[in-house]
Amino acid sequence: MRHRVFIGFIIAEAVCLLFFYLFSLLEIERRRPEVDARRELVRVLMLTDLAVWTEARYTRHPSQADLFSPFQDSPSSIEHFPAGSLIAPPWRGGRRGGYGHHFER
């Protein structure tokens, strides 16, 4: 008897997850015009970054920040904006190097 309850519960959860997955596919399709409109906004306003973290230049525009920005006015000063902890420099073949891939230049 217990196994029937368990199998029924697992099937219910799996169906629920399947519903979430199908909902995702439909929602992405339904909101496609929204994404296109955002893309158009980026094209027309020539935007380069998400307006997520507005507390500092390099968190508002991580792709445009100058190379010393994360260190503010001194290369040895400690990063003090929490959002800076979310952004790690990309791994570049054995060494860490800056936002984007700008150190090559």
Binding site: L17, I28, V35, E40, R43, T48, D66
Partner: protein
């Protein structure tokens, strides 16, 4: 089939004999999967959104760097850049930051306006037209924080200390908040006056390249021709967002690692041995005629019941947390010191590959850690096992 179902029934009875312990393990296991899946779903959704929308960002942005800092770029550079083969239009951009001490928030003030702006649909009201001064369009976040709607007045303090008053003719819609939440759009004339940008200078230049395959070459030529500039290509913008919202980056990795370690402790505790009661149970089963394979199947079912149930529960809760509730548990960490954080209305992008990896990293090790010590006990003489 009937035999397997009977062993499953026995496994469920066996688990229900220790309800507190097994419910506790299931709760912790579900919580670990919930945290891990929330991180994976959230970062993947952010990453795909950024990569999709910034696919139409400028081919190359040319900044001028002076003393290691971003500086205003002379508009006369446009002529030299346009001479490079393959370069299309070169457009100056005017923008800057404004700290509003009334609401303790930073705004990004941008100049825009012209015929192309008619294609902007995520707007309530109208956009700044060419030559139209004294008007502005606000991001949803600023509009709410300053309690200014369309038809209202927006006041900023200019660089010379005078007040710059503009009529709010439009507010960006909530659907665009991820891009426009802190934006103030004014005309180029107004922006130059606001920030006292000297004539003949721009914040940076946007370069259009006819053939997208030549963007890197054009960027290199711009750098060679104007050594004080820093060209930033679209590929680099995309690479930046790919890095920021990669689950292996920064704080997300820290939370991810902590959750994985918690799971490892849980699995390790299971793998390091059985309790005396569990050993005695295996010994009795062997003594009454169970095969080693039957004992292993029983332990497989015990592990599978806990891990599959926890995985499905944790994954479902993670989905609801991120896509229905807007990830409220991660919001304090995500927000940081940002005072104008947009409402998260993320699209539910799901990477099945990541989900499968998560399943294989949690369900399989747990089942294995349940079976290995039981296998050791099952191959030992029943009498020796029962005597401990």
């Amino acid at each position: 089939m009937n035999k397997h179902l009977k062993i499953l029934e026995f496994a469920l009875s066996s688990l229900s004999r220790r309800p507190c312990k097994n419910l506790g393990i299931t709760a912790v296991f579900s919580l670990v999967v919930f945290v891990l899946s929330s991180i994976l779903l959230l970062t993947h959704s952010f990453r795909i959104e950024a990569l999709r929308v910034f696919n139409s960002s400028p081919h190359v942005i040319v900044q001028r760097v002076l003393g290691g800092r971003h500086d205003l770029v002379p508009i006369e550079y446009i002529k030299g850049i346009e001479e490079i083969p393959g370069v299309g239009d070169v457009t100056p951009r005017f923008w800057g930051y404004y700290y509003d001490s009334y609401v303790d928030a930073n705004y990004t003030v941008m100049a825009a306006g012209g015929e192309t702006s008619s294609s902007i649909t995520m707007l309530e009201g109208s956009f700044v037209k060419e030559g139209q001064t004294g008007v502005c369009v606000l991001g949803r976040g600023i509009s709410e924080r300053r309690m200014t709607e369309r038809g209202g007045v927006f006041i900023l303090t200019a660089s010379d200390g005078r007040f710059y008053v503009c009529d709010v003719i439009g507010v960006f819609s909530a659907e665009s908040a991820l891009l426009t939440n802190d934006l103030v759009i004014v005309s180029p004339e107004d922006l130059k006056r606001l920030f006292a940008i000297p004539e003949g200078m721009a914040t940076d230049l946007v370069v259009e390249v006819h053939n997208p395959l030549e963007v890197a070459t054009v960027a290199k030529k711009i750098k060679n021709r104007f050594p004080d500039t820093r060209p930033i290509t679209r590929e680099e913008i995309l690479a930046t967002y790919d890095t920021i919202f990669n689950w292996r980056s920064g704080l997300m990795l820290t939370v991810f690692t902590a959750a994985v370690l918690a799971f490892c402790i849980l699995a390790w505790d299971k793998a390091t041995g059985l309790s005396a009661e569990e050993k005695r149970e295996i010994g009795i089963l062997k003594a009454i005629g169970w095969e080693t394979s039957d004992v292993l199947e029983l332990k497989f079912w015990e592990g599978a019941v806990v891990s599959v149930l926890s995985f499905l529960t944790g994954l479902g809760a993670g989905y609801v947390h991120v896509f229905f509730l807007g990830a409220p548990l991660f919001l304090p960490a995500l927000k940081g010191w940002s005072t104008l954080f947009p409402d998260l209305r993320l699209l539910p992008y799901i990477d099945l590959y990541q989900i499968l990896i998560l399943a294989s990293l949690t369900v399989l090790p747990y089942i294995a850690s349940t079976m290995v010590p039981s296998w050791k006990a099952a191959i030992t003489d029943p009498d020796a096992v029962m005597r401990g």
